[in-house]
Amino acid sequence: MQMQRSIQLPARLEGGPYRLIGAIAVSLVVAYVLVGPQQFSNFLTIGAIYALIALGYTMVYGIIELINFAHGDIFGLGAFVALWLLTMGGFNGAINNPVELAVVLVALFLLTMGIMGLVGVAIERFAYRPLRNAPRLAPLITAIGVSFILENIMQAFFGPSPVNSPQIFTLNARFDIAGASIGYLNVFIVLVAVALMIGLQLFVGRTRLGRAMRSTAQDREAAELMGVNIDQTIAITFFIGSALAGAGGIVWALYFGYAVFNQGFYAGLFAFTAAVLGGIGNTTGAALGGFFIGFVYVAAAQFGYSRWFEVFIFGILVLVLVFRPTGLLGQQLGERA
């Protein structure tokens, strides 16, 4: 037990995770003061979505060093799958019975995340695995091709305009706190996202498969010699990453109430920035980066610059790459290499 713990901690945090927790607490207070309580809850909700997407980016990059351009579109597809499942299930309005709502949500998350995980595994199997030893340019071009295929499949099935999603949450189920009216949906989203992130950390840090993932990221050949099944491990990484993006998609459909075929393109770009910001390959960093992007989104809207949001994000991406290319938390998976 002791041994495992010391392996699990990133070197940069060895001084104590308390510094990181303290830094998070301080940033949360600053964010609260800057945007006020109402926008604070929005920032956590939107941040949770970007964090869920960023996790998949960072995991895939950590393990096979590929920027999976299709990842954003897996998120977009996840939103459509959730919307489609709800429509197929015959839901078209709010579900007021809490037990029924809970059952529907659990089923929705399990099904959508499972489907998206399988889609991710299939993409890896057919598009990326044959190119694992090819020159770097080849899988990158393939990934951008896959991204376009996914977007156009969505467009072919659901059309070019936004599609409304059934709203199974009562939107006026809100409570007042500190002068802000906060929907239960917001609380639910943040809780689900945090639970998934903690689950991921435990999985990567504590389980046998998680250890296989970390060793593959560190040195693929050595891991193979030690008996790790590389193909299986990479497939599992894609499954988890895509399932998390799928969860992000569900949350998007529930919160914003629509899905559009190319939403994954921008979301992917923002989530990638989040992953770079946190230190690509570092799951904790990606989650924090996602929340930071959510904050920028909300703050830009708050101060009347929402149409410049993309420009801000891009500026952040370039600044991070220039001044701190390893990201804020350093490269957890890569650093061990």
Partner: protein, 378 residues
């Protein structure tokens, strides 16, 4: 080389030798022949059935823009091996440069021919500006930063509406004139010939670059950056030059497009343009100048003329419900993936690139039979 000289068979090989030793002249001759033949071919069936000749010539001039873009992106992707996913940004910068240089909106009226150089220069400067921070990092970061840049540039043109008229775009951009002859909207021929000349110059310049010390450095970086660096290649400045030269080619295309349409607006330069040009380069054969040019031309014509006509042609048949234009990007995506998996060197490969892209298989074959099994997909 010596192997080929030993079994010299009459005409074709002698032509090939002559063309490789007098590359500039042969490029001019080839381009002149192509430029002269295309409008003639267009008057014969089945091509004459699609469009009248002047419409074809107009399409050829538009296709020329994409040929130019593909040639420029080929420097970046094909020669230097850097993935640029925001190439349309430089195209947009070139176009807006001309719109500022010669339109009632800005009040300037600089000559088109000078603005070609200015547009190329401004685009190259932006290429340097973007490349300088990112080219020091690993190649994949460049891909995503250029992707972001490609989205940001149109967004800035869209949002800064005080300076760019936002979504409305800048209209009434002046058409070029040469020695007192004023180009007209209604007459595509001068644009066609101008484009052919620009492409010829670009092809000659790129051939000379490719065979220069700089070109060899690009290919060395593409094949093995570490080995290139240890042999004294300054990788950062070499990559920057590739990036800037690619950008300047797109700038030329932008100036031409702005003058031909007499209009610029942000939505002409979206991600689909970058993606289309990338597909052209990959399908044509990364690194092969003629292959990339031909690939771009063929894809553009298929996309803008044939797919459009196919819809009309199939009306009334069971396939009539399908809008082929709607699926063109799906086709590009499938084509990119299929090419990378099956024939990464493109339809018209450069010999060197093919060897490089299949290096892994060649290395595997002579070893254990298990190695061959792993590559069984090929």
């Amino acid at each position: 080389m010596s192997g080929r000289a030993a079994r010299r068979v009459p005409l074709l090989d002698r032509l090939r030798d002559a063309s490789s030793s007098h590359r500039s002249i042969s490029s001019i001759v080839t381009m002149a022949l192509v430029t002269a033949l295309l409008p003639i071919v267009a008057t014969f069936p089945p091509f004459s059935g699609f469009n009248p000749q002047s419409v074809w010539v107009n399409s050829f001039a538009d296709a020329g823009v994409y040929v130019l873009l593909a040639l420029g992106l080929n420097i970046v992707v094909g020669l230097a091996g850097l993935l640029d996913l925001g190439y349309a940004a430089f195209f947009a910068i070139g176009a807006y440069t001309y719109a500022y240089g010669a339109s009632p909106f800005s009040g300037n009226d600089f000559p088109f021919w000078g603005m070609l150089l200015v547009g190329a220069f401004v685009a190259a400067m932006f290429g340097l500006l973007l490349g300088a921070p990112t080219l020091r990092l690993r190649g994949d970061y460049l891909a995503i930063v250029t992707l972001g840049f490609g989205e940001i540039v149109p967004t800035v043109f869209l949002n800064a509406d005080r300076y760019t008229k936002g979504t409305n775009g800048i209209s009434g951009v002046y058409l070029p004139s040469l020695l007192g002859y004023q180009f007209q909207f209604t007459d595509p021929w001068p644009f066609y010939v101008t484009m052919a000349v620009i492409i010829t110059v670009a092809i000659i310049a790129i051939f000379r670059l490719q065979e220069s010390r700089l070109g060899r450095a690009w290919m060395a970086i593409r094949e093995d950056e570490l080995a290139a660096a240890s042999n004294g290649v300054n990788t950062v400045s070499t990559k920057l030059l590739a990036f800037a030269l690619g950008a300047s080619t797109a700038g030329l295309g932008g100036v031409f497009v702005a003058s031909k349409l007499s209009f610029v607006s942000p939505d002409q330069f979206g991600f689909t343009v970058s993606f289309t040009v990338l597909a052209m380069v990959v399908l044509g054969g990364m690194g092969n100048i003629w292959g990339v040019g031909a690939g771009a031309f063929i894809i553009f014509i298929i996309q803008t003329v044939i797919l459009k006509q196919l819809n009309a042609f199939l009306a009334g048949t069971p396939l009539s419900g399908i809008d082929f234009l709607q699926y063109q990007y799906l086709l590009y995506g499938l084509a990119l993936v299929a090419m990378m998996l099956l024939r990464p060197e493109g339809l018209f490969p450069s010999a060197r690139r093919r060897r490089e892209l299949h290096a892994a298989e060649e290395a595997e074959e002579p070893t254990a039979p298990t190695g061959a099994l792993e590559g069984a997909g090929q």
